[in-house]
Symmetry: C2
Subunit: 677 residues, 2 copies
């Protein structure tokens, strides 16, 4: 056994013997310990800080003497003077091994440090961004051994960072020579690896560059575009921002946009321009909000449904509007941001777009899968991402299935008589007293219930303007629980229900939730048409989930995850009363918030996550709802509230639904067939 000192790195526990005088950074690299360095061990970047421990370590079987590391040198002294070095910290590239030593690598010195995704979730994002700065010292030109500056830069990256085969755009060549000379042959290159690992230099800065690199994770939805600006060093979200998708003016839902492209020559290009312009504006505003130079945004990750995907890429989505719903391209893409006219970011910024799963199941669904990892689940999980289209994933580590279902925009408050988008003044929570049938509610922007003292004053500013998506689900479910709506979805008359809030409307009835007409305000009610719209939407969602359950040969799921920005606000109980989701213990229904956005952030922060989801997407079994006869059967059966035939034993444990029926044999109240689009 060698007499060289033993070096033990914590928390990894990696250990090895190294000759006296070996720098700690060198030892870490040779052992594969995750210790960061941007300057390559030249005492410039200070990223390789470590904490040596001294004394007895019976667990490791070593005793660390006070002189186990070389004394602090002038480089460390200077750094401490200028920037301050924390008590007990050393620079790993300067401190040399002199005896057995235990060295702690603090989290901020780890390249692949883990970032807690959110407080409520123990899952973490591993930091391994595709774009990183590398400091290099480049050989000066020699007339007698002529070679290009780029070739000597490439040689330096190979020698100092073991990165071979770098490429660059001609734009980099324009900046290369002045940068190298200004930095006196020292430079920091911004290097991007695509998901095949091919390295490309995006930019070069003279000398050691102190700047930060940022990335945008963009969830490009049919209705809204949401962006997170992340620090690519630590994954921190510096700002989040969103705006309405301007394509809405061409059509509310996806199929009407496809129709717009089919009916109007150049319509697809018009929609492409609109969305690209909006994304540029969003990038600019989010950078301003975070106080970040948009030129340091070097990466953008997109998740979106297939129609948005094609329109973003400038591909006519016409094929997605008709069977067999063929995608132009299904695999992930790494392309220059300028190919998408994204000029608000770094001119060499790269875009990564997650793979699409099928013609109706997009990169957004892939992102949900990446965030929720059904393919790692022991129990069978149903994940529904509720939006204008619902993306549905079902399965466990053995097998994962996916489909999408055309729920339409009812869940988002559209196509509802008093519906509105989630904004201050919108009713978002509702309770109806089963005896008095009197409602109380909460509006966005106020924590009080409508029957609390002070509610009127508190909402005087915003008013009470309408019902948002989660409000409409709650009110319809509450109406069902209070016996105002029967299992078939019919609203009873005042006589049948015993409340004057049920008022006639033609041959049907409506339930008055809030009447402010006396004060010149709105009359907010739930009409029979609203109930029908919600029934259509929830039937589509349920039918999609059931179809996947059939494919998997199961009758019940172990747990349910509600995803989507809207999913976070849905009450599981109300969703189940409506029959939006299959029966399941209520405590096994959770919300994942904007899982697609989270998936985009993961892909932004961790290049290996890209390879992982590409692999998983290939394994996911795609189920096409549009052509599956059983989908129609499930859809019709799911029209009832909660369901015509499926028992809901778990729901029954917590809720007893009144056995009422208001069907008097009137016309037009059978299960209508919903057409896609």
């Amino acid at each position: 056994m060698s007499n060289d000192p033993l070096v033990i790195f914590m928390p990894s526990g990696k250990r090895g013997r190294f000759p006296v005088g070996t720098p700690v950074l060198t030892a870490a690299r040779q052992l594969g310990v995750d210790l960061d360095s941007v300057c390559g061990g030249r005492g410039i970047c200070s990223k390789c800080q470590v904490e040596p421990s001294f004394g007895e370590f019976p667990k490791h079987g070593v005793t660390v003497s006070p002189d186990a590391l070389s004394p602090r040198n002038e480089v460390e002294d200077r750094y401490d003077r200028i920037r301050g070095l924390k008590q007990g910290r050393r620079l790993g590239c300067q401190a040399r091994i002199q005896g057995d030593i235990v060295i702690d690598v603090p989290p901020e010195s780890q390249v692949h440090r883990q970032v807690i995704r959110k407080a409520a979730d123990s899952r973490t994002i591993v930091m391994d961004p595709a774009t990183r700065p590398y400091y290099v010292e480049v050989a000066q030109p020699d007339m007698h051994e002529p070679s290009g500056d780029f070739q000597r830069l490439a040689a330096a990256l190979k020698e100092q960072w073991d990165i071979s085969g770098v490429t660059a755009d001609t734009a980099l060549l324009h900046r290369l020579q002045p940068a190298l000379r200004k930095g006196e042959w020292k430079a920091t290159v911004i290097l991007h690896r695509d998901h095949h690992g091919t390295p490309r230099i995006l930019d070069i800065h003279p000398g050691f560059w102190e700047g930060r690199l940022y990335g945008l994770a963009i969830d490009l939805g049919s209705t809204t575009i949401a962006a997170h600006l992340c620090d690519l060093r630590n994954g921190k979200v510096l700002a989040s921002s969103g705006l309405m998708n301007p394509q809405i003016r061409f059509g509310e839902d996806l199929m009407s946009r496809v129709s717009y492209a089919m009916m109007n020559p150049g319509g697809d290009a018009e929609m492409t321009r609109a969305v690209r312009t909006a994304i540029n504006g969003l990038a600019e505003s989010i950078a301003t909000e975070a106080g970040v130079d948009p030129r340091n945004i070097v990466e953008t990750v997109f998740v979106c449904n297939p129609v948005m995907h094609h329109l973003l890429l400038g591909i006519d989505p016409v094929e997605l509007g008709q069977a067999p719903f063929a995608l132009a391209t299904s695999e992930s893409l790494t392309i220059p941001a300028r190919d998408l006219d994204l000029h608000a970011v770094h001119p060499q910024a790269q875009v990564y777009i997650l793979p699409c799963i099928a013609g109706h199941v997009g990169a957004d669904c892939a992102a949900v899968a990446l965030a929720e990892e059904p393919y790692k689940s022991d129990d069978i999980v149903l994940i529904v991402d509720v939006g204008t289209n619902a993306e549905i994933l079902l399965g466990n580590r053995e097998r994962v299935l996916a489909c999408s279902s055309p729920t339409g925009p009812a869940f988002e408050g559209a196509q509802i008589s008093s519906g509105q988008r989630a904004a201050p003044g919108a009713i978002e929570r509702v309770e109806i007293d089963p005896v008095t049938k009197e409602p109380r509610f909460k509006v966005i922007g106020c924590d009080l219930w409508s029957d609390d003292p002070g509610f009127a004053a508190a909402t005087a500013q915003t008013g009470i303007t309408g019902i948002c998506g989660s409000g409409i689900i709650e009110v319809v479910a509450e109406m069902r629980m209070a016996g105002i709506v029967d299992a078939g979805g019919l609203i009873g008359s005042a006589e049948q229900t015993g409340t004057a809030r049920c008022i006639p409307q033609g041959r049907t009835h409506a339930y008055v939730l809030h009447d402010a007409t006396a004060e010149g305000g709105p009359l907010i009610m739930v009409t029979q048409g609203d109930i029908r719209a919600i029934q259509l939407a929830k039937s589509a969602l349920y039918a999609g989930a059931r179809l996947l359950m059939d494919e998997l040969g199961i009758d019940r799921v172990d747990r349910i995850v509600l995803a989507g920005a809207f999913g976070a606000h849905i009450s599981p109980k109300h969703a189940m009363v409506l029959g939006m989701i299959p029966d399941c213990p209520l405590d096994r229904v959770s919300s994942a918030g904007n899982a697609a956005g989270t998936g985009a952030r993961i892909a932004l922060c961790d290049i290996s996550a890209r390879a992982r989801i590409e692999e998983e997407v290939r394994r996911i079994l795609k189920v096409e709802t549009a052509i599956e006869p059983r989908f129609q059967e499930h859809f019709v059966a799911a029209n009832a509230i909660p369901h015509a035939t499926d028992p809901f034993p778990e729901l029954t444990k917590v809720v007893t639904l009144p056995r009422v029926s208001f069907n008097t044999g009137g016309a037009g109240e059978g299960g209508r067939r919903r057409r896609r689009g």
Copy 2:
């Protein structure tokens, strides 16, 4: 031994046994026989035509019976009806092997067919262009196995052509879906391989595409831009065209353009725009001339000196104007044409730029090396590419050296009092009677000598306007041979030379070549200043060659190749009398014409030539003339005509130079030092 029929392909002689029923094309592929096919064996493209031979073949030890191939089938009959199949020809994909057979592959059916480069030269260009059409049949989309159209296209290329890992721009994705549907899932893709072999789809056409692909080989010189439009199937030059480099308005020679960039902020961008605009115009006009759709120009190869190289790429050439003359990038480049704003060609066209050898020795010199292959020469060859800068290569298969030398524009007729560019009316050949000292000459555009009857009438149209580059070399050499100029370069007086054509000009003399002043025409003469300009130019050229000979440790070269558009017109004897080139048997001095342009064409037609020259350029030893003290020594010694000290034994065998001296100790006639620039 197998009883399967024996198949022998000629002219390769490749042979193998194949089961009865094997198509000839399949057998050829398995044996690696060079038999073309664009449609992949579907009887569409007719590229795989073969000629079976029947009867006794004692040399091969086989007897071929008349039924050794399957009878002509309906596909061949139809082809013959519509297009005509030559007597004895079969389609290789239709004809099946039934017995021992000898099959001849005619040259036009070979992919890598060889093309004779020019009549006078036995060397050939092997056709293996980087961009080729491939016909594929693509699987239709299947809702139950969803995948993108691009992924199914990639799978078809893999399965039908064994081409893996194809990539494409988003622009291709825009066109993909309509093309596949229009062609009913049959398509012809235009596929480019870069010099690492990475395949990229540039375009897609519905069905079997009958079109042709073209390439441009462009020699981008300081003074002129010359382009050849080539058919990428057979290498044929369909049109050649040239124009003046519009950068001339920023400076005649390279260093004055570098100065322009240094003195004028944005000056480099201005020159970049000028040259790119000119190249677009040239591409358009040459396509029009050849009657070719410029959208089918899918490749462009550039050769140019380092300053032109950087200005073409949009790189500020300032570093090339000062030691150590560092190139921004020295290796070859494959980049999209649109990165160079070349919009006149196919929007996805690719550009290949040959590698630069050193800061003063460019891709043009690499192209000369590719055309002349000094690295394959058994004897030691000196190659000089004469232009505003001279590129010089010296060596043999063991070792090749390169340098450039700043000859200035005198050899092109600039800086000469009566000098002009080569155009009708310019004196291009001169003879001076050694006894009478009377000249006779020829002008461009007329085959008669000036003392032939009818000369005046024949040149009435163009007039006699000046002296072009080859004319100035001849007249100075003739003046030296006739004793009008002495070894020091001094023109004698009328008294000293015995001819009234020597007239005084200040303190020096001039020789009157043609006096048309009586008719209101020009007075064309050679002044002392002209002689000095030629001496400076030829000394630089000779000094560069000598420097390389020193490096190689030799005193004489075995043969000399004069390259450059102008090199083709230089008389070897006159060049040697002047001392432009070292002594060498006159019959070992040859002209290679525009070798740089030929090198560009070779790289355009043959992708393997790109790898070859990249490899050779790495081996070439670069010699920097600008900082080599011996260059100055050689330069001064080379000032004399032909040389102050070097003997010219081979020249002496054919020419006796009069021992005259007109130096009367006058001022200002010492060897002036030439400054670069």
